[in-house]
Amino acid sequence: MSDEKILEVKDLRTSFFIEGNEIKAVDGVTFDVPKGKTLGIVGESGSGKSISALSILQLIDSPGEIVGGEINFKGQNLLDYSEAQMRKVRGNQISMIFQEPMTSLNPVYTIGQQIREALKIHRGLDKKDGTEKSIELLELVGIPSPRKRVTQYPFELSGGMRQRVMIAMALACNPELLIADEPTTALDVTIQAQILELIKELQDEMGMSVVMITHDLGVVAETCDYVAVMYCGKVVEYADVKTLFKNPRHPYTVGLLNSLPRSDVDQEELIPIEGTVPAPHEMPDGCRFAPRCPFATDLCHSELPNLDDVGEGEQVRCWIYTDEWDGDPEVKVYEPEKRTSED
């Protein structure tokens, strides 16, 4: 973890103000993205992972608002930037691709017009140079006959092709950081693998860093170097990907892993996480996961643990790993053998 950090998010808070109530969608999120590496942000729907990503580029629409924290990009806090300064960052130094390739492209402009726009804004390329560069980019993302594609409209392309176009558009200005918000969720499984591989290849080629937002631990295992697990607007565990899969610490992370099917052992059922995610307006006082946690004690229910270091750059937000822990001192959160079937 001694690598240079391209992005450091500290105590980020983004809330939505609806009818006088504050809904804390992102509630003190902290994570780093080492340069040239991929950070995965994992969590269920509503855990705040997408809002965290949109907050980085300040693309939060009213009634949402970033209410606190720091977003340091190459040492500069983006939250101090003016809107005009942010526009120079968006699509230029930091790019983003989205979940829905079917609706993320403007239906009334050609592929070429849409890629060219970023090149015109950030590089000042005219129509002719912009078109040439667009064709190059389409070729780079593996779109066949790019010269023909630049003149086509989004509806003439399949979902996978459109996501490739989104990637081409995002990479137009050689960004240093790419934020991918569930880039494969809406795609067929075979196309998913292709898109992930493409992102990985381009990352190696261009040396950019990636924030990969997903709810799919399979995607994390394939593409990420580091992982932040989010639950109810907070990061509950941060570790490098190997450690996370080999030695998960937070009971929620363990729950996620246990609910994944495995191919290496004989397994009859998956173990689900009991209960449901609490609604935003009825967050528990203590640990957000306590009501669903098999190990929860009175302490867990009454007080929120901090995100503490627990070793080699790993952090976990759980009382079990603190001196204050009042439950069974021998508690084993992760028992790999438990995941094999009983008989």
Binding site: L57, L59, R90, G91, F98, T103, S104, N106, V108, E117
Partner: protein, 307 residues
């Protein structure tokens, strides 16, 4: 594209034939004998019979209809009963006045409606938005003859800025155009607002923001072109209402347009002129809606006109 336009024009033929049937029957289903009307109340029966023969009123209806359609196709819209002149000579000069009035009113309503609608959508729930929507509600609810009379009262009679009647000079044109265009502007403003609000929340608008596009360009380039599709439909449909409104506006401002001619002809039972006016208004309406359909293709490439 060309194939589509040709096909659409061919499709107009049955529609227009339907219109001629209705217009033709109009003359024959209304009570009263046109020959008697032409000859006068106290005319001798021989004279009435002579006129009936001349007009072919004793022929079977299908034969009369056929003669009528053949005449229309050749540009012969019949003879005015009141002036005893070819109908086309009565209608043609009036037609251009009405088209001019309707066109200016359309341009005004599109221009005002779009600007107001965009401002409303971009600043949703602001003072500007609420004021625009209240004004639009008034514009929509106000009968245009009343608006015309009020404008005339204030600007022509009290302030003396504009002549109260007539058509031709820019000063004469302004009040009738405002009178006729207000309702359309209100409808277009409301339509633009809701259409823009829907488009602004789309994913591709977020994509444009993520590219670093300026907010102004997002509104005018990325959002507006998508939002225009339903607005254009409304403009086409409004044109029919506009032609109807033109009748009242022409009456209020004493403009010698086709609307006024139509009303006068109905009063005087000058059926050939009534028929011609209705026929022409129908053709204009159908053609305008054809133009609207074609314009979709330029707004949204996804609409396949060959389907």
């Amino acid at each position: 594209m060309t194939v589509y336009i040709i096909r659409r024009i061919l499709q107009l033929i049955p529609v227009l034939l339907g219109v001629t049937v209705l217009v033709f029957l109009l003359m024959h289903l209304t009570p009263g004998n046109p020959a008697q009307l032409m000859a006068g109340e106290n005319a001798p029966p021989e004279m009435v019979a002579q006129i009936e023969n001349r007009l072919g009123l004793n022929d079977p209806l299908p034969v009369q209809y056929f003669d009528y359609v053949v005449g229309v196709v050749q540009g012969d819209l019949g003879t005015s009963m009141r002036y005893n002149t070819p109908v086309i000579d009565e209608v043609a000069p009036r037609f251009w006045v009405t088209i001019e009035l309707a066109l200016y009113a359309t341009v005004l309503s599109i221009f005002l409606g779009l600007i107001a609608g965009i401002i409303s959508a971009v600043r949703q729930y602001s003072v500007a938005d609420v004021s625009i929507m209240i004004v639009a509600l008034f514009g929509l609810s106000m009968p245009n003859f009343w608006l015309g009379l009020m404008l005339m009262q204030w600007f022509s009679i009290n302030l003396g800025w504009f002549p109260p009647t007539g058509w031709g000079s820019p000063e004469q044109i302004l009040l009738p155009v405002i009178t006729l265009g207000t309702a359309g502007a209100a409808i277009i403003a409301r339509m633009t607002r809701s259409s823009m609000l829907e488009v602004i929340s789309q994913d591709y608008i977020r994509t444009a923001r993520a590219k670093g596009v300026k907010e102004r360009i997002i509104i005018y380039k990325h959002a507006l072109k998508n939002a225009l599709i339903p607005v254009v439909t409304v403009v086409g449909l409004q044109f029919g209402a506009l032609l109807a409104g033109a009748v009242l506006t022409e009456e209020v401002f004493a403009i010698n347009g086709m609307g006024r001619l139509l009303v006068d002809s109905i009063m005087n039972r000058d059926f050939p002129v009534v028929q011609a006016c209705i026929l022409i208004i129908s053709v204009v309406f159908v053609v305008v809606n054809l133009l609207v359909d074609i314009s979709y293709k330029f707004l949204n490439k996804r609409i396949d006109l060959n389907d």
